[in-house]
Subunit: 346 residues, 4 copies
Amino acid sequence: MIRFENDYTEGAHKQILKRLIETNEEQTPGYGVDEHCEKARAYIRKECDAPNADIHFLVGGTQTNTTIIASILRPHQGAVSATTGHIAAHESGAIEATGHKILTLPSDDGKIQAEQVKELYDAHWNDVTHEHMVQPGLVYISNPTENGTTYSKAELEALSKVCRECRLPLVMDGARLGYGLASMDSDLTLADIASLCDVFYIGGTKVGAMFGEAVVIINDALKKDFRYIIKQKGGLLAKGRLLGIQFETLFEDGLYYEISNHAVEMAIMIREAFVENGFSLRYDSTSNQQFPILPDDVILELGKKYSFSFWEKVDATHSAMRFCTSWSTKKEHVEMLVEDIKATKG
Amino acid sequence: MIRFENDYTEGAHKQILKRLIETNEEQTPGYGVDEHCEKARAYIRKECDAPNADIHFLVGGTQTNTTIIASILRPHQGAVSATTGHIAAHESGAIEATGHKILTLPSDDGKIQAEQVKELYDAHWNDVTHEHMVQPGLVYISNPTENGTTYSKAELEALSKVCRECRLPLVMDGARLGYGLASMDSDLTLADIASLCDVFYIGGTKVGAMFGEAVVIINDALKKDFRYIIKQKGGLLAKGRLLGIQFETLFEDGLYYEISNHAVEMAIMIREAFVENGFSLRYDSTSNQQFPILPDDVILELGKKYSFSFWEKVDATHSAMRFCTSWSTKKEHVEMLVEDIKATKG
Amino acid sequence: MIRFENDYTEGAHKQILKRLIETNEEQTPGYGVDEHCEKARAYIRKECDAPNADIHFLVGGTQTNTTIIASILRPHQGAVSATTGHIAAHESGAIEATGHKILTLPSDDGKIQAEQVKELYDAHWNDVTHEHMVQPGLVYISNPTENGTTYSKAELEALSKVCRECRLPLVMDGARLGYGLASMDSDLTLADIASLCDVFYIGGTKVGAMFGEAVVIINDALKKDFRYIIKQKGGLLAKGRLLGIQFETLFEDGLYYEISNHAVEMAIMIREAFVENGFSLRYDSTSNQQFPILPDDVILELGKKYSFSFWEKVDATHSAMRFCTSWSTKKEHVEMLVEDIKATKG
Amino acid sequence: MIRFENDYTEGAHKQILKRLIETNEEQTPGYGVDEHCEKARAYIRKECDAPNADIHFLVGGTQTNTTIIASILRPHQGAVSATTGHIAAHESGAIEATGHKILTLPSDDGKIQAEQVKELYDAHWNDVTHEHMVQPGLVYISNPTENGTTYSKAELEALSKVCRECRLPLVMDGARLGYGLASMDSDLTLADIASLCDVFYIGGTKVGAMFGEAVVIINDALKKDFRYIIKQKGGLLAKGRLLGIQFETLFEDGLYYEISNHAVEMAIMIREAFVENGFSLRYDSTSNQQFPILPDDVILELGKKYSFSFWEKVDATHSAMRFCTSWSTKKEHVEMLVEDIKATKG
């Protein structure tokens, strides 16, 4: 079985492993105050052109989203998100467990637009009974989204502008950020994101690291006491240096971009094979996740050799499926898949 | 600087690293349902003589305690703990953040006794206003404790008996469990613990693993839907197999015991050096943490070469200090420390 | 200004006031264990034909919903509700503040149907990633709904059947229950509701009492320790007897039904006046809330003399408005309103 | 049975009842924005010499404490309180249920002193691992305390000074505030309290009202969005005017002071009877609660005719008991009790 079901089927990029081995016997203080973490922070600050950013390393995505959101909101406030947002759909109520409602905006492709935020904000404040409703307290987006789509710089600028007008911190979930930056549709850089968002994170787990997410806090007002909240939400890794070492490796020589580009290149090969064979795509994704709509017999046929995820039923005989690539995807596997796609009757 | 400040100053045991490298390119499903996790579960069930135990792997201790406790309690219930318990003292309010009070029992050595639990339980239920107070909902202990002490089998049996009479699940925090089992004062085995506790966890982070804690749920009534809670509390690692591989390695050939014994042997060397040199010990610990009471000048002198932790002020010129050993402690470092201790004027 | 804006514009029914005065100097124990509470419980149990029901008195609706729901759910579970449900829309995130997501079902008239619950339940359990999503843990309905509509006995039976099959407690918010029972469209009795729901409450605040809601717990499994949760959520009134006295008065001689019938009679007069004058209704309500769709000029005209609530914009020149009646609505006011409606150009 | 067991055994002061009757048929908007609430606010602002204070009316004490504290703290912060504080001991974990630990300071008489707060604050910030501990976020005191004792102006000034130095909002629970002000040991006025505390509340439930507590927010930084939190925590009474009417009545002509003085006068008669008869007092209370230490036979004897509360066992044959007076305590009852006390063998 060749696995395209998600982007965390293997361990870590060999360069990461190598550095973990090399540093294994170093003795360092715990909880992320070691030199590796400091170096990683410096690389990321530079990459983001954000010399004053606070940078924290956490282990996984749900934990990171929960920690960021719990840190920002007051009890009566909620997080604005697309209905498809990870926090709204796939975190087992982690945000609500910290006391906060998620205020959802409809979205088909996973993105939300500036006007939607403005409308929701105005609707809240124009309602005479607004004190009986959850107050929007921040805006959460994913880039790339859970559907593989990415925000353009213009879209992100518009969102950022509205958020600042409404005094709503803009939070970007970057669990797959590398793959978003590598998308041919994306004209964003880390520095752009740092200038437009209040807080975001750079995903490691799905982009070469064994595990780990780097939170970048740009907005000074949101920096205070963040480490307490990490600890409280269970994200303060004892051997914090493991996170530092990984992000150091990812950012010292551009490895993060290199492996992201590879994954997206692999994804585009798969995309093109489906399209050329006449299959339509559920979302127009040019990042590392592809969502072809396939007839049941093709799903069965490909399923004998490859694992991929069921996404949603489209009609009586077709479903959208998800194929993921990652830093670890082997080109020969993709080529084999491409051949097998071509062999189906699209 | 040679570090004795805590038991997580290095990466992972070389055998663990080796296995992570060997398995790095395997493709596995995510979230702990892979074969490595299954094998690790089988080893642990066997070691615990608990064929029906549910076993889950989480990343760190605070997260594990929070997940277990949140899973068990109803909203009006609290966790009974020693005042010194990790959940009471050093988790930034993680338990309270899930809505639950910690009902503390006084303890100097970190242990609580069966009678204390019974008294607290009776005091609650005998109070006519008990509905205005937090109801005891479980009992949390650490073994070894945060002070290095361990429960004897007789003590644990007595606690377990009272807990069962009071229908209070008994939860053991085993962040350093290996070091407790290796203590010469301990007559407990994993199978004993499994027969006396309702839920406990076997710490990996401090005992050879890079990170990871294995939760063992014995009581059937506490098994339901535990994975939802892990996910909600941010502990469901995407690459769950990393945890499986580590615990597989720790338990397939007795590595867990071997490295625990080493650490305790090292700790006893340190203990004896202090004692022989006339220093008294804050707690009578025979596990991997030692708490000598030292005069300020000795602290300063040893501090030039070794790192260790301040524990508490004892009088105007003396403080208790904490020295930790671990799987990674080098004998030559301990021998050097022992020499340096002997060179002080005790 | 004659007020039809809500159903809590006055104090209490004169019979309630009288009893509060008569009993004012009685000395009773606190917190709802007095004789008045006991009598009220007996009346309600009889009326519900539920001799084993547990009955608790709380002060207001949001508090009551929060207490019931927090008492039932485990941390990873959510409350299924119509999008229009009070808990979903108008309680400032009170349910989320206890850690639980509200799983919403679309509804235009405020009701949810058995099939919707079944579909949501099946969708959850059929999803292979269900552990990453909030588990449905109970079903919340309002009767009458926030839109004035009521469940028929057949609808409630179907809902109840599905809920029992799915082991989802069925919870009914009866903030306006009297007005629902009095609706000509309703074929339900309190005994029916008690036989079909697991927990429900009988609203007092909007139906003659100064304040107060009577929670009726039918399902034995949900009775345990409820008073602790009331206390924790701030609903255990010191002078609990005030609640007992009010419900005693409402239920000893049928006052609850009498005043509910009056309110609905008044509402139907208003409804008919609107309909006869050619206005359409946003919802087909035959309980105490009416939602005519009115042109802006009629709204302005009626607004000079009467207060009523804006509900929603329907088109450029029309909006739905809410007119409420209650136990305290004076017939002469309604007659005046009816005349004024007739005088408008429908 | 003549009841001295608590200070909420009767309904409401007759003047309150009268006003509730007089205003019963008035039609007002809901949720505390009516004219009665506005008038009550004006009276209280004047009495507090705090023209810019925000004033909110809630129903009961636990709800009020929870709402205030949840509104102020960030997730990693806790409320500093005496171990005997109501929030620490008798609210069923209401504060923890909002996610916050209570950081307790030892106290025998119910008061905490400025130095204790300073020490706890310094201990937190001087600890290198403070990020692993709950950060003190506010200081909660009760006046009078749960033990009947009161803060002197000097004590409150010292506390206030330390709190401001440490940037810890000072919150006073005034459930029995009238009785504290009426104590001969108290040299505080409402204006003093308003100048020294950041938030406090003036208790109505125990001081003449049927129910109700008036929150006074002095510190501008703590005013924002408070009504959302009231709503979320279930404290926004639909018929808010009921609270306004009661506080209007209590404060328009000094009724609050008058009835407080009466209660304290009655309490002192009881105190003196016990003292004169040779019984000692558990606490030196000069407010409306008295805590004589009585031998078991006296307890039994008095218990035949009077209800009072068990406080704590003092030795094998003696216990401290609590006798409460209130606005409603009848002088002839107290005189009877005094005679019966004198008839015991002290």
